[in-house]
Amino acid sequence: MGALVIAEHNNTVLNIATLNAVAAASKLGTVDILVAGHQCQAVAAAAAQVTGVTKVLHADAPHYAHGLAENLAPLVVSLATNYQHLLAAATTNGKNVMPRIAALLDVAQLSDIIGVVSDDTFVRPIYAGNVVATVQSLDRIKAITVRTTGFDPVAATGGAGTIETVAAGPDLGLSQFKGEELTKSTRPELAAANRIVSGGRGIGSAENFAIIEKLADVLGAAVGASRAAVDAGYVPNDYQVGQTGKVVAPELYIAIGISGAIQHLAGMKDSKVIVAINKDEEAPIFQVADYGLVGDLFKEVPALIDALSK
């Protein structure tokens, strides 16, 4: 009785969040990976290389192309009886599909685990990370989403899994993919970046956000934002860091013009080194910052870019 990890991918590339989920699964027993998609052989092959993977279950059909939960969940359910644990990274895809799987199996789901205590007991943050709960599942099958920052990823290579084709289920025709508007960026991906520069309402406008981007470029960093900056339209929604956005834990997180509301802190307070630049010395962000600089961001950030460029 092992664990089945649902791979996250775009039919071409295995998303590295899957490696964090495999890391959590490896603490529970043998690990198989499900790669369901359309013309996703390359992903199945990549998944077989992942350290610790025994078997890749590969299901290929047009109606798995976009990971829509309505078709994917019954497929996972049909495979689930062979497993004690079902895991997915707590990405928007994982969060979308895993509860549906759990409901179809009549089991609870554990969201966003950051620790494994035993094969039925897990650690997860609640209340915007202000409380950490240890929770025991009483169900036979444990459906789990994994907070990627809680587990160091396993190596993408070095494994020697076998690939087994599994039959696709039907297209239930409940939902249809219509299109997507993906944010284009040449910078590192927020969820996986070693360095992140985030801007908040203090930046003031979409145009002004260029100074955040410039600093990010000097540092080779990803760009993030507070909810207020997203709501104001300075940056796209997928830049949001926080309780209800992305949770990140880079080596270096620089918060600029961000006050430090609990919802924002929930998404970044496990970063290794935190820098805050804010003109209000009372701003709560300074309570979690290793290095706080009180000042006007329009003066300090250009100076920082200058100093780093030297």
Partner: protein
Amino acid sequence: MKILVAVKRAIDYNVKARPKSDGTGVDLANVKMSMNPFDEIAVEEALRLQEAGKVTEVVAISIGPTACQETLRTAMAMGADRGILVQTDDEVQPLAVAKLLQALVAKEAPGLVILGKQAIDDDSNQTGQMLAGLLGWPQGTFAAKIDVGEGTVEVKREVDGGLQTVALKLPAIVTADLRLNEPRYVKLPNIMKAKKKQLDVVSPADLGVDITPRLKLVKVAEPPARAGGVKVADVQELVAKLRNEAKVI
């Protein structure tokens, strides 16, 4: 078409929760409670659909202790037509909430159910997806925009890479994300009016649902605190510290 909206009574978003000193749970004594913010967005969206003539009735549902009546009154003061409280003092976990909502869907036969994407207390982000699974309905989670047409709803979803649009057959489940709308403020006269609106109370047993928890809380604790930091005088000092002390650049 009728819409059901699920509204949870949760800790107010401005309050920082703390574990009880004995680690048995979260200290909620004398803590301000409000409607879960995502549920306000869900109610607002239902009301906008009603105002656009696409919906005939908006019914708010809350599950929990008697105090949830306040949450329902808030939803009705915003404009919901009536409320249903599934009253219980026991803990109700997302799977059980989904089953109770499933039972109410069977009674009310809505065309759409809107929930919040996440309750800010348990941070589960599960209930809508579970309800959709139990009903065999499509799900449009993390909605930033919804467009109700004939027999379908198009949902623009906030996903990790940006936005994704899906078309769902009605009836369907939608969960509200932050950018779906900005909820209206409740006006005083509407609070008075809401007091006269219909509020039915049922029990989980009335609905034939077993709400026994499947997850056992072993303990709660505070997260490890960060060591206190320092203020730097200027950019030069900051860069020096990052290079020589933190060694991150």
